[in-house]
């Protein structure tokens, strides 16, 4: 069974649109997400296959609605929780100030 990321050959997507003078990142947080992922991979918190898997098992609606680096951040927090580095509540900041 294929997952939502497996879009090769899928029908119904629109024309490809280029963004003129596209910057490497559209916001600082995107660069931070890339750096964060590199640091955690380097530290062996998870490996690249686990990272990709965490993106690819996102619920399809969320996958399609998320920007590229939102998917990355979602995968990072999924893995941090699954690896026991922090609880989902801590990652969401729900204990901040508590």
């Amino acid at each position: 069974m294929s997952r939502i990321n497996d879009v090769g050959g899928m029908l119904g997507f629109p024309a490809v649109v280029e963004e003129p003078d596209e910057p490497a990142f559209h916001a600082d947080w995107e660069a931070h997400v890339v750096a964060l992922n590199a640091a955690l991979l380097r530290r062996g918190v998870y490996d690249l296959d686990e990272f990709r898997d965490a993106i690819e098992r996102m619920p399809p609606q969320e996958y399609l609605a998320s920007s590229y680096y939102e998917k990355w951040f979602r995968a990072i927090t999924t893995l941090l929780a699954e690896k026991g580095i922090a609880t989902p509540a801590e990652l969401a900041g729900e204990l901040a100030g508590g």
């Binding site: 899928m10 490809v16 955690l40 901040a96």
Partner: protein
């Protein structure tokens, strides 16, 4: 894409997670900023352009590049071993009869070491889904119309295996030196969504 979202909430969440990890010793102070600087100083399409220009002027290098790209790019000081494991690089050469295009249908695998970060369209579902089914139509989205007799080959990259297109050398460039030739090579030319 992100530019159309209100991304203040996600920016705050990223800052929060970063601070949490730093507090718990999973990140060193300043590590994120160092990595951002290193990323900005990393790959750029200029690397792919330099490789292309060398292949245009040096038939021996061209042959080595097409036979074993990982080794050949080392002659120019480039490497696919910058990550945790070396990625296999295959360079595919356009010719009069054949045009190559690169995609990653599953995600966004790309030769970052040689081309820098991938453009947003490369990562879009529209490109990933369509280019393997109707490459001519997608090339038309980019304003590229190839003769009907030109065979188009689409290469699907993976985590371990990356591709770069070697564009055809434009006509009437005999008088140009290697640096000037490299200046003609575009990122899209190296992905295959433009001719050079």
């Amino acid at each position: 894409m992100s530019a159309t979202h209100d991304d203040a909430p996600v920016a705050a969440r990223v800052r929060h997670v970063e601070a949490l990890l730093e507090q718990r010793g999973w990140l060193a102070p300043g590590e994120i900023d160092e990595r951002i600087d290193a990323f900005a100083a990393g790959g750029s399409p200029a690397h792919g352009a330099a490789i292309t220009a060398r292949a245009w002027v040096d038939p021996g290098f061209r042959a080595r590049l097409l036979a074993d790209a990982n080794t050949a790019i080392g002659e120019l000081g480039y490497s696919m071993a910058g990550g945790l494991q070396e990625q296999q690089l295959t360079v595919v050469a356009n010719s009069e009869d054949e045009h190559h295009v690169v995609v990653c249908t599953l995600c966004s695998c790309y030769p970052i070491a040689l081309l820098g970060p991938s453009p947003g369209w490369y990562r879009s579902e529209a490109y990933r889904s369509r280019v393997v089914r109707e490459p001519r139509a997608v090339l038309r989205d980019f304003g590229v119309e190839l003769p009907a007799t030109t065979r188009i080959t689409v290469w699907d990259a993976s985590a371990e295996s990356r591709y770069m297109v070697l564009p055809r050398r434009p006509d009437a460039t005999e008088g140009l030196d290697e640096t000037a030739l490299a200046g003609l090579v575009t990122r899209k030319g190296l992905i295959g969504t433009a001719v050079v």
